[in-house]
């Protein structure tokens, strides 16, 4: 995948309608449990009034083009959900950092790191 050919600094990277691009990749994948959980947290966070889809899109856009090219869809979405929850004050960065360190110490895999 190549980056947008636009050199206009006022044109944002995500705004790609009409750009030249190659053949459409038709390969797909089924969503993993952790991705479905990100999706669910996104819906629930919105239902609880902590952000709207507009806030998520804003965070995704502000991550920049490198994130679009190097991170998977739900990696970007989990980052956007987190950004919006931090901004909404649902939890603090300190709480997040402590929790993430604790989770990492539980095990080497996603399955092993669940709090069971």
């Amino acid at each position: 995948m190549s980056k947008s050919p636009s050199t206009d600094p006022a044109r944002r990277w995500h705004d790609m309608g009409g750009d030249p691009a190659g053949e459409i990749p038709m390969d797909g994948h089924d969503f993993a449990l952790w991705e479905k959980r990100v999706d669910a947290l996104m819906i629930l966070g919105s239902l609880k009034g902590h952000f709207t889809v507009d806030g998520l899109r804003r965070a995704l856009e502000d991550m920049g083009e490198d994130a679009f090219e190097t991170m998977t869809y739900y990696e970007r979405w989990v980052a956007a959900v987190n950004q919006n929850l931090i901004e909404a004050g649902v939890y603090s960065l300190e709480e997040l950092a402590t929790k993430m360190a604790e989770i990492k110490s539980r095990g080497e895999t996603y399955g092993a790191a669940q709090d069971v």
């Binding site: 006022a10 709207t52 899109r57 804003r58 919006n84 909404a88």
Partner: protein, 95 residues
């Protein structure tokens, strides 16, 4: 009370050629282009405010139909179109 409807279907409108740095829902490829109001949808809260968690007033949302040749200078087949939703504050009536 929400915003009133400014444009009726069939009205010729152009999209403002603005380039703000933040979250907007008007794609660059349509800015500065002229189209026809396909339908007036209804007012929605302004996403340019919602995106930052700010109080958001309502803006009327329209569907505007653009000819491919107007957007790109040519079309694969004449008469093909793009319809897009554009908020009222991005539209100007063509005289």
């Amino acid at each position: 009370m929400g915003p009133r409807r400014m444009f009726e279907p069939g009205t010729s409108v152009s999209v403002k050629k603005l380039q703000p740095p933040g979250h907007v829902r008007t794609p660059t490829y349509l800015r500065g282009k002229t189209g026809i109001i396909e339908r007036a949808i209804r007012p929605f809260k302004n996403p340019e405010q919602l995106a930052y968690g700010l109080p958001a007033g309502e803006k009327y949302l329209y569907r505007v139909r653009f000819d491919m040749a107007e957007i790109w200078g040519s079309a694969e087949v004449p008469g093909d179109t793009v319809d897009a939703e554009i908020y009222e504050h991005w539209l100007e009536e063509m005289s």
